[in-house]
């Protein structure tokens, strides 16, 4: 008996499959607005490990609406260094948090990207340029070479998310409840 035959005799299963497909499609719709770490790599420059990464930010309408209405959007980049072990969980070496702010400057009509750690800021005429700049991590020092005794089996894990705690207070309860404020990337790993 073929699979088609078996489903023909079991209409309940067809409904079940339909439900499964719908459930699978649902995250795809949510992923229309997403944060995706496209690439990441490290290099040593003057005794310092530096991270280069390219993160794709895409904002949904609700977040865009908030941004264009003067709400500052903060992206939180988490970089973790872990040593992989054979039979145990990974050993945590260090954790680095980087915050980037994106805001709209109504008078100039530009989007401003601020790197809070370095107090750098740059204006962009378009949102896409601003998001591109936001997603470009260039030579970010993560750890000194001396600090690592052994760089073997050390992985860099990167994760980026929209920091809801940095939102204005009245927005926070909504942001914790509503899914469209829950923007975050998968963990991305690359060797040191």
């Amino acid at each position: 008996m073929s699979a088609a035959d078996s489903t023909a005799y079991c209409p309940d299963f067809r409904q079940f499959y339909l439900l499964v497909i719908l459930l699978l499609l649902l995250p795809c719709q949510l992923q229309a607005a997403e944060i995706k770490i496209e690439s990441a790599s490290t290099k040593i420059n003057q005794g310092m490990y530096q991270l280069n990464a390219n993160i794709h930010y895409e904002l949904n309408d609700e977040v865009l609406d908030a941004l264009n209405n003067g709400v500052t959007i903060t992206m939180l980049l988490t970089i973790k260094l872990e040593r992989q072990r054979a039979y145990l969980w990974n050993e945590s070496i260090s954790k680095l948090l980087q915050r980037y702010e994106l805001e709209y400057h109504a008078l100039s009509g530009q989007y401003i990207v601020k790197k809070l750690a370095s107090a750098e800021q740059q204006s962009y005429l378009s949102l896409s340029a601003a998001l591109r700049a936001l997603g470009r991590v260039h030579e970010l020092p993560i750890i000194k070479q001396d600090a690592l005794q052994d760089s073997k089996n050390v992985v860099v894990k990167i994760h980026s998310e929209l920091d809801t705690n940095a939102l204005p207070a009245p927005l926070r309860p909504l942001a914790w409840v509503e899914s469209y404020w829950q923007l975050s990337s998968e963990w991305f790993s690359c060797p040191l």
């Binding site: 709400v71 530009q110 340029a129 914790w176």
Partner: protein, 734 residues
């Protein structure tokens, strides 16, 4: 101890109150978290979850209470209906105002937040922004033109000389920074601050794109650390083929005043826009907090309603149960005291009431028991009295009597209990005289005493009867107490004693002159017989002979009298009646007469305590009496003698029966047979049976005489058995 305290804390009012307080605290903290206090930011979700869990627990507690109440209501348990009514009342009183307040609060909140915003303000802000832009636009255009001219100046500059040229141009134009790009590569840069030349500000890539398409750029820009600046990027005219697409960027500072104003406009516009945008989330946040507060209040109120209703109804339920218990006769129930209020007073009064009732009931029970005990005691005394006691009411009906009364009257008085005493007379003719006298005396209503003699088949019976009208007790007023005693035996004993005295005196008075009479007669005969003629001698002989003979007879009679009157001390000894009977009968077996003895002795014969000599006399008297009675009357005289051991109502005794086939007692009454000087024989002293009776009574026994149905007389003697039966029996059998 600690476990009990913990249990008490985690259940009941404490737990609910604690939960409510915790929830209220969480709610307060959460409302604080919506403020801009960073310390609570992380806890917001935790607080929200805590509150929701707490609310769920409250809901579960309420649901459990509701289900419990529903069950009790269905089962119709006391207090469930009142609890339900109170609960509904409390819930309505508590929930409706809270809901009303909630509705108006939310409405007021929304209206309040909306009222912060005004279309005119929004418009004026937009206008001010526009104004700011337009005020800067003319300057932008001027600076664009200026920069375009400067670009012409650097068109043919080589990379090496470009820096000097740029310094010159920057100084001339008043720009704060000037940079020459080749494509997006920095060729040369000049800054008012020399240290910033190394890392000049770069324009957006989009601007470079525009430049490549020949579109120059002039616009406002916010530069880190500097603030608002005017950025102008223009394409440098191509004058030499070996040069690429070059662009010149110049940054011009705005005046301090302009920067200040522009920053203010930007700030205000941005803040206002943000506020407008945050209007909905703000409403959402406040409404959420308010809703949680409402739910907390409502659920706490419902639970409190449950608790209060239960607390209020508990004493009432207890009272209902207590009342039911009292109705069923249980006065020992005590109710737990609630708070010191009116209900507490009511419960205390109930407890006092039941306590008093119980005490009164116990007292009553005690006195009833005492009365019963007294009655039982009196009944015991009455039943053990040898005198007969009876009470008759005013209608001459028999009310009470004792056993002795039945025994003396020889009737079962239970048959006439509660009935008229006249029925006793109609049922037993023998008691006619007794009843007649009772009725006669009762009519006089005074104390009386009378001796009543009854005649029946058992003989004459003399009763001493005494009556007392009872007037002291109300309920027995009109009743008469009658006490009577059978004095027949007493009178008999008195008579016997009198006869004994007569016999003793007779013996004493008569015996003394008899010997001189006899001696005188014998002397007369001896002296004058020989001297007389034959005829006179014969007369004398016969007369003296008669005198002597009669004197002898009188002597015998006097001896018999003295024998009867004598009361020798009996010598009791343990003996076997069978052996004694055999010894006595041996004397008659060898008799030449044709007397036939039929002896039947009980093989199991216990010992008796008796005087052997007196018992022998008794047996001789009886056997002789029978032989004399049968002499010349019965051709084949026969005496049957039996011994038996019998038991009647816990009393063991031996019975001796002597029967003959003679003429019987020939109508003599039994009561008179044993009287002295009662005889049917010629020449009999009438003392034989009287002595028999005396001996039997001396031994504590009884004697009876009756005619046999087949003819002949029978005497039955009963003697008590010695009190060591078992041993005696065994000995006898051995």
């Amino acid at each position: 101890m600690s476990i009990i305290v913990l249990k008490r804390l985690t259940s009941g009012p404490y737990a609910a109150a604690l939960l409510s307080i915790l929830l209220l605290l969480s709610l307060y903290i959460m409302s604080g978290a919506t403020e801009d206090s960073a310390s609570f930011n992380q806890q917001y979700v935790l607080l929200l979850i805590t509150i929701l869990v707490g609310l769920t627990m409250l809901v579960v507690m309420i649901a459990v209470n509701v289900i419990g109440l529903y069950r009790r209501y269905k089962l119709g348990e006391p207090g469930s209906r009142l609890t339900t009514r109170l609960l509904v009342l409390f819930v309505v009183i508590a929930v409706i105002p809270v809901c009303v307040v909630y509705y108006f609060s939310v409405d007021f909140l929304h209206r309040g937040i909306d009222s912060w915003f005004d279309v005119r303000i929004e418009q004026s802000l937009n206008d001010s922004l526009e104004l700011s832009r337009s005020s800067l636009d003319s300057r932008l255009r001027d600076l664009l033109r200026t920069t375009e001219q400067l670009a012409v100046d650097v068109a043919d500059e080589s990379e090496a000389s470009a820096v000097l040229r740029l310094d010159d141009l920057r100084a001339r134009s008043g720009a704060s920074e000037m940079t020459l790009f080749d494509g997006n590569r920095i060729v040369a840069s000049s800054n008012i601050k020399a240290e910033l030349v190394i890392n000049p500000n770069r324009p957006d890539e989009a601007i470079f794109n525009d430049i490549s398409f020949g579109r120059n750029y002039a616009g406002l820009d916010t530069i880190a650390g500097v603030g608002l600046q005017i950025r102008v990027v223009v394409r440098v005219p191509l004058v030499r083929a070996d040069l690429g697409i070059r662009s010149l960027q110049a940054l011009y500072a705005v005046t301090a005043r302009q920067r200040e104003l522009a920053a203010s406009v930007q700030e205000t516009f941005s803040t206002y826009n943000e506020l407008v945008y945050l209007r909905s989330p703000l409403k959402y946040s406040f409404t959420l907090t308010l809703t949680l507060a409402l739910l907390l209040s409502v659920l706490s109120a419902v639970w409190a309603a449950f608790y209060t209703a239960r607390k209020l109804v508990a004493p009432i339920t207890d009272l209902a149960e207590g009342t039911q218990a009292v109705a069923l006769g249980d006065y020992s129930k005590r109710l737990p005291l609630p708070a010191n209020d009116e209900l507490g007073f009511l419960v205390e009064s109930f407890n006092q009431m039941t306590r008093r009732i119980e005490r009164a009931r116990n007292d009553e029970q005690l006195s009833r028991d005492k009365v019963d005990e007294q009655q039982a005691y009196q009944a015991c005394v009455l039943s053990n009295l040898s005198s007969g006691v009876m009470t008759l009411d005013a209608e001459q009906c028999l009310q009470t009597f004792n056993e002795a009364a039945s025994q003396i009257l020889s009737v079962d008085l239970t048959h006439v209990e509660g009935k008229s005493i006249k029925e006793l007379a109609s049922q037993h003719a023998r008691l006619g005289r007794f009843v007649e006298i009772l009725l006669e005396q009762m009519e006089k209503h005074q104390q009386w005493s009378e001796e009543i003699t009854l005649f029946g088949s058992a003989g004459r019976q003399v009763l001493v009867c005494r009556g007392v009208p009872m007037t002291d007790a109300l309920e027995t007023s009109g009743d008469t107490l009658i006490v009577f005693e059978d004095v027949t035996n007493l009178m008999q004993a008195q008579r016997n004693a009198a006869w004994g005295e007569v016999a003793r005196r007779l013996a004493h008075e008569i015996k003394n002159p008899l010997t001189p009479i006899q001696l005188s007669a014998e002397r007369l005969r001896h002296k004058y017989l020989d001297t007389m003629d034959a005829e006179s001698a014969e007369v004398l002989d016969r007369a003296t002979h008669t005198i002597v003979q009669q004197v002898e007879a009188m002597k015998d009679m006097v001896n018999a009298f003295s024998e009867y009157a004598r009361a020798p001390q009996i010598k009791l000894e343990v003996l076997n009646l069978n052996t004694l009977v055999n010894e006595v009968l041996d004397l008659y077996r060898d008799d030449e007469s044709n007397l036939r003895l039929d002896i039947s002795l009980d093989p199991v014969m216990p010992h008796v305590e008796a005087d052997a000599g007196r018992l022998r006399q008794l047996l001789h008297n009886l056997i002789k009496n029978s032989i004399e009675a049968m002499q010349d009357v019965t051709p084949q005289p026969e005496i049957a003698l039996r011994t038996l051991c019998m038991q009647e109502s816990n009393c063991r005794y031996v019975e001796l029966r002597i029967e003959d086939n003679g003429p019987g007692w020939m109508g003599d009454k039994e009561s008179e047979l044993f009287e002295p000087y009662v005889t049917s024989k010629q020449g009999g002293t009438g003392l034989g049976l009287a002595i028999v009776k005396k001996i039997v009574e001396e031994h504590g026994g009884m004697v009876a005489a009756e005619d046999r149905p087949e003819g002949g007389a029978m005497v039955v003697i009963r003697l008590p058995v010695l009190h060591q039966d078992g041993q005696d029996d065994a000995e006898t059998q051995a």
